[in-house]
């Protein structure tokens, strides 16, 4: 008697998807992981060498390799995660309170903290690096969505890892969560998944005030793809407005919280003004002032203007929405009279780095030169960061 044997043959779709998964891991996730890990390891090594070979003071007790990831604002973020917000100012900085720091990153630290035995700093480093890694994957996908080839998209990722001051993406800072939410919001808006884009945008404005400028991108995208009609006749496709109206939600919720706790919805700007001496100046006025200075402000002004000029690359590449977003962010970031931190604020302008990668990709010599220069400056910034120099705030 012939015995029937049942053999399970995977259908063509299963084969294709498993092949896709393997290909994705091999061709996309592996290179991104390698770029991520090598760049982080190199920065930590520079930090360690700086501390052991250049720093004047000896390592404090309990100092580990991860300690290089806690500088400047790290203690503020970890403090909010551990103890919540407080109106008590810092002893050595009158008027400076932790209301200057937006809540999403500390909330993420608090959520992860129990998993790592309650160590809030370690949790912050994990959150930061995880967000950065996922952001890199999304930046790759975003670049591909914009029509970049595989190599150019990977180049965008590499640029972001090697840009001066990119250590903040691995430190206990909110830059990486901001970057992730920005790219996710933009990616899903371009994919017309309005709800996900809206939720990411709402979380973005709870990470930092400037997140609310996602609205600029969203409006530009809606107008470009649906014409002015899409805004003027919103009842035809109201779902397109979801990201626009969700974007300020995080900011408003934080304002409401501040209002209830302190009686001052704008507790963030208040404490920034009194504790950090921050005040608003129109960008043109601020640029004029910075260009007159004979200190680091002059360099910051030149770099900001250079970035603004560089953002015209986006126009040339037809990335109008990205151009409006980057220009708005650069102008807003340049409107504060305190220039510290500008370096790390600029890092999140990933469309610029995608546009740069597109220009660099067919030019290997220029690419090598650019990467060499950026790597040198990144090393310098890492040393400045380790030694807590003003330029690396």
């Amino acid at each position: 008697m012939k015995r029937s044997v049942s053999v399970r043959i995977p259908d063509s779709q299963t084969v294709a998807s498993s092949f896709d998964a393997v290909a994705t891991i091999r061709h996309i996730l592996l290179p991104i992981s390698a770029i991520f890990l090598v760049s982080r390891a190199a920065l930590l090594l520079i930090g360690m060498l700086t501390f052991t070979q250049i720093a004047q003071e000896p390592e404090p007790a309990g100092h580990t390799l991860l300690s290089y990831l806690c500088r400047f604002d790290c203690a503020w973020f970890v403090g909010v995660a551990q103890h919540g917000y407080s109106t008590i100012p810092a002893a050595d900085q009158p008027g400076a309170t932790n209301f200057a720091f937006y809540p999403l990153f500390p909330l993420l630290i608090r959520a992860v903290s129990p998993i790592v035995g309650g160590d809030a700093f370690f949790a912050a480093v994990i959150v930061s690096n995880l967000c950065f890694y996922v952001a890199l994957v999304y930046i790759y996908r975003y670049a591909r969505l914009l029509g970049l080839e595989h190599t150019a998209a990977l180049l965008s990722v590499a640029l972001l890892c090697i840009l001066p001051h990119s250590i903040v993406f691995s430190a206990a800072y909110s830059e990486s969560s901001f970057l992730l939410l920005l790219v996710v919001a933009m990616f899903y808006l371009r994919r017309e998944n309005y709800l996900v884009a809206g939720i990411a945008a709402a979380l973005l404005s709870a990470t930092r005030t400037t997140g609310v400028l996602f609205v600029v991108f969203a409006i530009a995208w809606i107008v470009r793809h649906g014409g002015a009609r899409a805004l003027l006749l919103p009842w035809r496709a109201p779902e397109k407005l979801v990201p626009v109206l969700f974007a300020p939600l995080g900011l408003f919720l934080f304002w409401a919280y501040c209002f209830l706790v302190t009686g001052d919805a704008f507790a963030g700007p208040s404490t920034m003004s009194h504790g950090w001496g921050w005040y608003f100046l129109p960008p043109w006025s601020n640029f004029a002032e910075m260009l007159q200075a004979d200190d680091i402000r002059y360099a910051f002004a030149l770099l900001a203007l250079g970035l603004l000029a560089g953002s015209f690359m986006l126009l040339r590449q037809g990335l109008y929405e990205e151009f409006f977003l980057c220009a708005a962010l650069i102008l807003l970031m340049s409107s504060g009279a305190v220039v510290g931190s500008l370096f790390r604020y600029w890092l999140v302008l990933f469309p610029l780095w995608i546009a740069a990668a597109r220009v660099l990709e067919p030019r290997p010599v220029l690419t090598a030169m650019t990467f060499s220069v950026l790597a040198l400056f990144n090393g310098l910034m890492m040393s400045a960061w380790t030694l807590q120099k003003f330029i690396a705030i």
Binding site: T87, P89, P94, G95, T97, F99, P234, W235, A237, P238, E239, L241, V242, L245, F246, P248, L249, F252, W255, A256, F259, T262, G263, D264, A265, F266, A267, S270, T271, S273, H274, G275, G277, Y279, S285, E289, Q292, A293, A337
Partner: protein
Amino acid sequence: MDAAEIHRDLIDPAWRRRLLLGSLAGLGLLYLLAFDLFVTRSRDFVVALDNQRALDYGRAHILPVPSTLSFGESQTDNARLGGGWHRPDAGGVWSQAKDTFVAIIVVHPHPPLHIRLNTTAFVAAKRPKMRVTASINDVPAGKWVRTTSNANEPLDLQVPASLASADQLLIRLHTDHIASPFRLDSGPDSRQLGILLYSAEVRDGHP
């Protein structure tokens, strides 16, 4: 209605779109109302805390009349300064905001008082005029115009008996602008400055 719209209505009925639009409009309206509430009701919490701290200190260190207060680096009277001031400098304390506060609590009850604030207004060639107003417990107490010729003149505040007998005197100084010397080509200081307060005299207000 074209075929695309009919198809759309089938997969996404009009009532759902209207509901979504209504919800989004509601959210937008909520933002406007909340923003209006925040702008009109918010008070700078750092200033409020500094004022409270200054008043608490004043209550614990009630001033006799007459008294002279000195402000500047390592002066104990700095504790009577409320919100809106920079860290004390060697020659006094600069205002960093348009509104600044000084808390004074004198022996109670008391006849009319005369308070002289010895100040220097930051006026420069590019910003030659500054308007200064003062109020005590929200009651107007004087206004002045300071120019390059009278920038160092004191601000004299007459405090009537009705006001002087209050539990506490919270003096609010308001300048119509603040500016950074660096920005006005008047020096390297890039802080926003209004007026420099270096001493205050509290005297009996009877002529």
